[in-house]
């Protein structure tokens, strides 16, 4: 690679008291690529995300982001600044929408910082200067654009909490995209989706990668999603990285198979191969 990667995680370690949730992990995520982070339950995937997005301060490690907005050391930044300045957006394993607000409002809130500036930190907006109205119209257009892409335009004025489950998952992705991120972190976006919905999700992720040219970091258990969309996969187990490579490499990695099915090989191995195909 000629230039630095979009995200470089170096020697990331996160300890909670005596528990080492993440132990000396290093990996990279490239621009315009989807990087999958997989591993059994409790492997430390979500902890990695929480470190990346400022919800945890890592015990040790360096997280460097080289995005369109410049170079940032994420481990030194305040929680909300990571999204505001560095441009890292995320979704949550258990969906966190603003359930009482409308679908459109969820997407407008995501554009808060730009609108706040346009409203002159509320003063100009209160007086009703035209600059703010223009900015708001642009924000609505952007929101409509994303609603079209996730197929929620018809339900734009519904309460977000009234959307069906799959719709809520897609809205959360759209909301994260409305912050104009350079890196999108998705925490199990396919959890609870049926086969058709996960196929739609695959397409959405690929289209975000190809049209927005941003990096996507994806935690997922659903192998049909991971193997189809990921350009690169990192496998964690018990807080350590056990494999790192293309989907094809991961599929045949004995360490991965052992992590998912235990030590015994043979019959179990072929079972897993089948599952991973």
């Amino acid at each position: 690679m000629s230039s630095a990667p979009l995200l470089a995680v170096e020697h990331l370690t996160m300890r909670f008291g005596g528990l080492v949730a993440v132990d000396d992990i290093s990996f990279e995520a490239a621009d315009s690529k989807i990087t999958g982070v997989i591993g059994p339950n409790g492997a430390g995937k979500t902890t990695v995300f929480n470190c990346l997005t400022g919800f945890y301060k890592p015990t040790v490690g360096r997280l460097t982001l080289n995005g369109a907005r410049g170079r940032f050391l994420l481990e030194q930044m305040d929680g909300y600044r990571i999204c505001q300045q560095a441009g890292v957006a995320r979704t949550f394993q258990n969906i966190r929408l603003f359930a009482g607000m409308s679908v459109l409002e969820n997407l407008i809130v995501a554009q808060h910082n730009r609108l706040m500036k346009a409203s002159g930190y509320t003063v100009a907006g209160l007086i009703g200067l035209p600059g703010y109205r223009q900015a708001e119209r642009a924000a609505v257009e952007k929101a409509r654009d994303w609603l079209d892409r996730v197929g929620l335009t018809r339900m734009a004025d519904w309460s977000a909490g009234n959307l069906p489950y799959g719709g809520q998952r897609r809205l959360e992705i759209a909301r994260a995209m409305c912050t104009d991120p350079v890196l999108l972190c998705l925490d199990e976006p396919a959890a609870g989706l049926n086969a058709r919905e996960s196929a739609e999700l695959n397409e959405l992720l690929l289209s975000i990668r190809d049209t927005q040219k941003i990096g996507i970091l994806l935690i997922e258990h659903d192998m049909s999603v991971v193997m189809k969309v990921c350009d690169h996969i990192v496998v964690l187990d018990y807080g350590r990285k056990i494999a790192d490579g293309s989907p094809a490499q991961i599929r045949s990695d004995p360490n991965v198979i052992r992590a998912y099915l235990g030590e015994e090989e043979g019959a179990a191995e072929s079972l897993v191969r089948e599952a991973l195909q």
């Binding site: 505001q84 603003f98 459109l104 407008i108 409203s119 509320t122 708001e136 609505v140 734009a156 004025d157």
Partner: protein
């Protein structure tokens, strides 16, 4: 209770655990008995022989029995059983009717009415009446027994009716408020009470920014009210500033107190925030009492000047160098002019608060408040600065309390720490919650009910708290989410309302 018999149709309502209801109803009745025997069971009566202690245990027994029965019936209504509550409610009303008739006829049976005051008797009858109406409503309009959910947060007829005529209703209300002092029935007392109600409406609208929009439960709101009142009084008495010159300073001071309180409580949520703000409110009151060299201590500050109308004073004779309102406009002096003027001042203040809130709701800051209320973690992940957003809410809410406080001081002409006790915070919060969090017109209704009615029902005396309790029970039955709990999105993609 196991009633899962073979062959029940799927649509049959779920088994109702009557024993559980009865147990809880008996407990509720017992608690009422204990509380009521302590509070209203004994009264001092002044007789020719001086003060004597009399008991009124019939009232206590009636109250506890009534609470137990009504509790049971409300539980049944919640479970979707409407027939028994309907019949029992009708029976209670009928019994009451007979007793009332007997009293009118002068029969001995008439002495059996539960309470001594007719206001209380009639007020208590509202409970079975509302039970009857509610069960009729559930039976006929909400689809009968299947409509268990209707007791919850669904929008009922009243809210829907209101929403349809939203704008018209608001305009009529403003028109009525402007015309009120000129109505034939408007005497000085009415205008005075209306001024008081408007003060609380303004406070409610101000607190609504903090509690309703930003979701920060503030139990010490009266502190900012006090800061506004005292800062105006001090600037006026010590520095000789007029009302209109001191007003912005008082607002700014109150807002900065809001920020000072806001900083340490940024990390707290829910109950913890409520406790800290409660403590802050008490601190301010105690400081006002104890720093006597600065605030006048328990005696407060006297002779706070009244607001002027562009320099015209509302007095019988003008102080040197000033002119009175009556002289300037060639009117004969009457004290009601000042009362009406104060009424219009607070009306304008309250309307400004309202329009400010309506306007700011469409701005990103208010959307961020609401988003913070819904989910702070998600807000942080979207790059919203929670600290600044919360502090703005605290500061703006406090600013309006400061304005209202200045007005309060100017109206009374006197401030003392006694006016800023915790009960005031509780009343303002009750107005906001009862009105339905986040709605503007609901707060008006709640302020009318909580401030206006007690002023006109002073006859109730020690039954006022009982009436307050009955009011709460009624609202619990009818509108568990507040009088007008409704939230309209602040922006629409498809122009047109009516979708969920």
């Amino acid at each position: 209770m196991t009633t899962a018999t073979v062959g029940t149709i799927a649509a049959a309502p779920a088994a109702v655990n009557y024993r559980d209801f009865a147990k809880r109803a008996v407990i509720a009745g017992f608690v009422t008995l204990v509380l009521a025997s302590l509070l209203v069971g004994i009264e001092t009566v002044s007789t020719v022989n001086g003060l004597q202690v009399a008991t009124r245990y019939r009232a206590v027994l009636c109250a506890s029995l009534g609470v137990a029965i009504v509790y049971f019936l409300v539980e049944m209504l919640k479970a979707g059983r409407t027939l028994v509550p309907l019949l029992v409610g009708l029976a209670m009303i009928a019994l009451f009717g007979v007793l009332e008739w007997a009293k009118l006829e002068g029969l001995p049976l008439g002495d059996q009415l539960p309470f001594n005051s007719w206001v209380v008797n009639w007020g208590v009858m509202l409970v079975p009446l509302s039970l009857v109406l509610r069960s009729l409503y559930l039976t006929f309009w909400a689809g009968g027994q299947g409509a268990v959910a209707a007791v919850g947060q669904r929008e009922t007829g009243f809210t829907r009716f209101y929403l349809r005529y939203n704008k018209l209703f608001g305009a009529l209300l403003i028109l009525f408020a402007v015309g009120l002092p000129f109505m034939p029935f408007a005497d000085r007392r009415l205008v005075d009470v209306a001024t008081l109600v408007l003060t609380y409406i303004m406070l409610g609208w101000g607190l609504n920014i903090v509690v309703g929009l930003a979701g920060l439960l503030d139990l010490g709101y009266v502190a900012f009210y006090a800061v506004g009142a005292y800062s105006y009084s001090m600037f006026a008495v010590d520095a000789g500033l007029g009302f209109w010159a001191a007003l912005p300073i008082a607002g700014a001071l109150a807002a900065s107190f809001g920020l000072i309180l806001g900083f340490p409580v940024l990390r707290l949520r829910g109950d913890y925030l409520a406790i800290v703000t409660l403590g802050f409110g008490e601190m301010i009151r105690i400081i006002l009492t104890n720093w006597w060299w600065f605030t006048g201590g328990p005696n407060g500050i006297n002779n706070v000047p009244r607001p002027t109308f562009f320099g015209l004073v509302f007095e019988r004779s003008a102080p040197p160098g000033k002119e009175t309102f009556a002289q300037f406009f060639g009117l004969t002096y009457s004290p009601i002019q000042r009362v009406e003027f104060l009424y219009f001042v607070i009306l304008v203040f309250a309307l400004i608060t309202n329009f400010f809130t309506l306007r700011i709701r469409r701005l990103p800051i208010s959307r961020a408040w609401e988003a913070l209320r819904e989910d702070e973690t998600a807000c942080r992940a979207l790059g919203i600065n929670p600290r600044n957003t919360k502090l703005t809410a605290f500061g703006l809410g406090a600013m309006f309390a400061g304005f209202a406080g200045s007005f309060f001081a100017a109206r009374q002409g006197f401030v003392s720490p006694e006016s800023f006790v915790f009960l005031e915070s509780a009343v303002i919060l009750a107005i906001v919650v009862l009105g339905g969090l986040g709605t503007q017109i609901g707060i008006v209704l709640a302020a009318l009910v909580l401030i206006g009615l007690p002023e006109f029902f002073r006859e109730l005396q020690d039954y006022r708290m009982l009436a307050f309790g009955i009011g709460m029970v009624l609202i619990m039955i009818w509108r568990p989410g507040g009088l007008l709990a409704h939230r309209d999105p602040t922006i629409f993609l498809h122009h047109g309302k009516g979708k969920t």
